[in-house]
């Protein structure tokens, strides 16, 4: 056979293999998404335990919510301060530096608050939940629970899921508040904007239903997405050190992408034409 033909054959084969790999990856993603959907339904199905024993959820709220407070408060403060600096700089060129309070609050409440809090939460709490559940699987604690006739989805998954779903919107609100305080510090104490103007501009232009409620709805939806990814990746982690590390990474990456993607869709529905 001529070498040229050989090369062609090699190229064709390489092309087909690439195509097959892309296809396999695609079916893999779709089947995992399906599995996650079923897992979400199961999680809802077994959630009665959390109502019967709220103590289980409260304990998890401490781990995912209370212990995330520090990072949320500090990040919120800095994001608010940076927003204040940047926005004042731009607005002042048009002589409207006074509305900086409104701009900071609007960007926080509508977008930055829910999105950044969800991403920070996924990195701080979501990854921890995934690692914990993954290690429970790797050390046969999940199997042990099944053998004790205790449904692990009810006992392990649902308290962590609901704790995250409850914590994230609360953390988002705290992020917003500290962010606005950060903006206030910079605008009023550093740049000399009048405090009264700062608050009144904000009060005038922020609508409770349109801005605050929509922001909270966003964060509830992000909370369901991030919590589902965290518990799902942990529960289906391969039972090895490498498997758990991969699952933890996937939790952070998938959560961040999901949050950003969902945010675009939600913003398009909520704020288009406003």
């Amino acid at each position: 056979m001529k070498p040229e033909m050989n090369r062609n054959k090699g190229a064709t084969r390489y092309g087909l293999m690439t195509l097959a790999a892309v296809g396999a990856r695609a079916t893999d993603i779709v089947s995992r998404a399906g599995l996650a959907g079923r897992f979400l339904v199961e999680t809802f199905y077994y959630s009665a335990l959390c109502l019967r024993r709220p103590g289980l959820v409260v304990k998890e709220i401490y781990f995912v919510g209370v212990l995330s407070l520090a990072i949320i408060v500090v990040s919120g403060l800095f994001v608010g301060m940076v927003l204040g600096l940047q926005m004042y700089d731009t607005l002042d060129r048009f002589g409207s530096g006074d509305v900086v309070g409104m701009v900071v609050a609007l960007s926080l409440v509508r977008e930055l608050g829910p999105v950044l809090t969800a991403i920070l939460f996924a990195s701080r709490a979501g990854s921890a939940v995934t690692a914990e559940i993954g290690l429970m699987r790797a050390t046969e604690q999940i199997s042990a629970m099944e053998m004790m006739a205790i449904q692990p989805i009810a006992r392990v998954i649902t308290p962590r899921f609901w704790a995250s779903v409850i914590s994230l919107p609360l953390l988002t609100s705290i992020f917003n508040v500290t962010g606005i305080l950060g903006g206030y510090l910079v605008a009023v104490n550093l740049l000399g904007v009048d405090a009264g103007t700062f608050w009144s501009e904000m009060q005038d232009s922020i609508d409770f239903r349109l801005d605050i409620m929509n922001g909270l709805i966003k964060s509830v939806i992000f909370a369901v997405a991030v919590s589902l990814v965290a518990v799902f990746e942990g529960y289906y982690a391969t039972a090895t050190a490498e498997g758990v590390s991969r699952a933890t990474t996937r939790t952070v990456v998938i959560s961040a992408l999901l949050v950003l993607g969902l945010d675009f869709v939600l913003t398009a529905f909520m704020f288009r034409g406003v």
Binding site: A144, M147, A149
Partner: protein, 274 residues
């Protein structure tokens, strides 16, 4: 067959495979009530799979697994969980819940499955801990226990609800000689004191032959020999002798199957190297 049949566990003609890889082929095995039975075999011969079949975590491809005269694979989830409440299982490395103290680990099933008052739970837990000699360790966390102590706590947890069947998955793996002796002796005394039935899956010949009533030898997914301890020690079967004496070569070859040595050294690596 009556529910009070002489055999607590019966495995009749069971085949089981993961995907296309047959792990167990035509297994027949009986465990009499009140006995301690060892299932001995080399690593990876399907022993743990056997326990998972008895516990209903896996379903056989062919044949029947009967526990207390009921076919495990045909039970619905509710019935299976009812049956599992009467089983205790000790996992290879204990599988203690790492977020709970020793006391809470043992109290776990009592809290999940019963409405016993707190005083009664305390009493029962201390009694179980006393039986394994670790009453003084009740407030330690699993990370503070040595391997042998963790195994004993796991044993106390396995007998928390006085099961009719206790299964041990490699209870002797990785223990020092003193812990080994303690765990071996405990398995026997617990079985006799509670009047339960025990199945030990292990490759530790010396320790297990000292404490059990009956032995099944499994290799390559088949039962190759069975008998009382005396019968097994006296047999002339080449495999049994190799296994009991721990010889490196014999019916079980030292070498993993490979191409002829000369072909691999002098031939083209592309012929055998992936």
């Amino acid at each position: 067959m009556s529910a009070n049949s002489e055999n607590l566990v019966e495995i009749n003609g069971v085949d089981f495979g993961y995907e296309h890889n047959l792990v167990l082929g035509n297994i027949n095995l009986k465990v009499k009530r009140g006995q301690v039975v060892a299932i001995l075999g080399p690593s990876g011969c399907g022993k743990t799979t056997l326990l998972r079949l008895i516990g209903g975590q896996l379903k056989p491809d062919k044949g029947k697994v009967l526990v207390d005269s009921r076919s495990v694979a045909e039970l619905d989830r509710h019935e299976l969980y009812d049956l599992r409440r009467k089983m205790g299982m000790l996992f290879q490395f204990g599988a203690l819940f790492t977020d709970l103290s020793v006391f809470e680990n043992i109290a776990f099933q009592m809290r999940e499955h019963t409405d016993l008052p707190e005083a009664m739970i305390t009493n029962l837990v201390l009694m179980k801990l006393h039986a394994v000699g670790l009453r003084g360790a009740h407030d330690l966390m699993p990370s503070e226990l040595s391997g042998g102590m963790a195994r004993r706590v796991a044993l106390a947890r396995a007998i928390a609800l006085d099961p009719m069947l206790i299964m041990y998955d490699e209870p002797f793996a990785g223990l020092d000689p003193i812990s080994l002796g303690i765990v071996g002796k405990l398995i026997r005394t617990v079985n006799d004191a509670l009047g339960t039935t025990s199945i030990i899956v292990t490759h530790d010949v010396a320790t297990s032959l000292d404490i059990v009533d009956y032995v099944y030898l499994v290799s390559d997914g088949r039962v190759v020999a069975d008998g009382t301890v005396g019968e097994i020690r006296g047999t002339q079967d080449a495999f049994v002798q190799q296994f009991i004496r721990g010889e490196a070569d014999g019916p079980v070859a030292f070498h993993y199957p490979a191409e002829a040595y000369g072909d691999m050294v002098f031939g083209q690596p592309s012929d055998w190297h992936r």
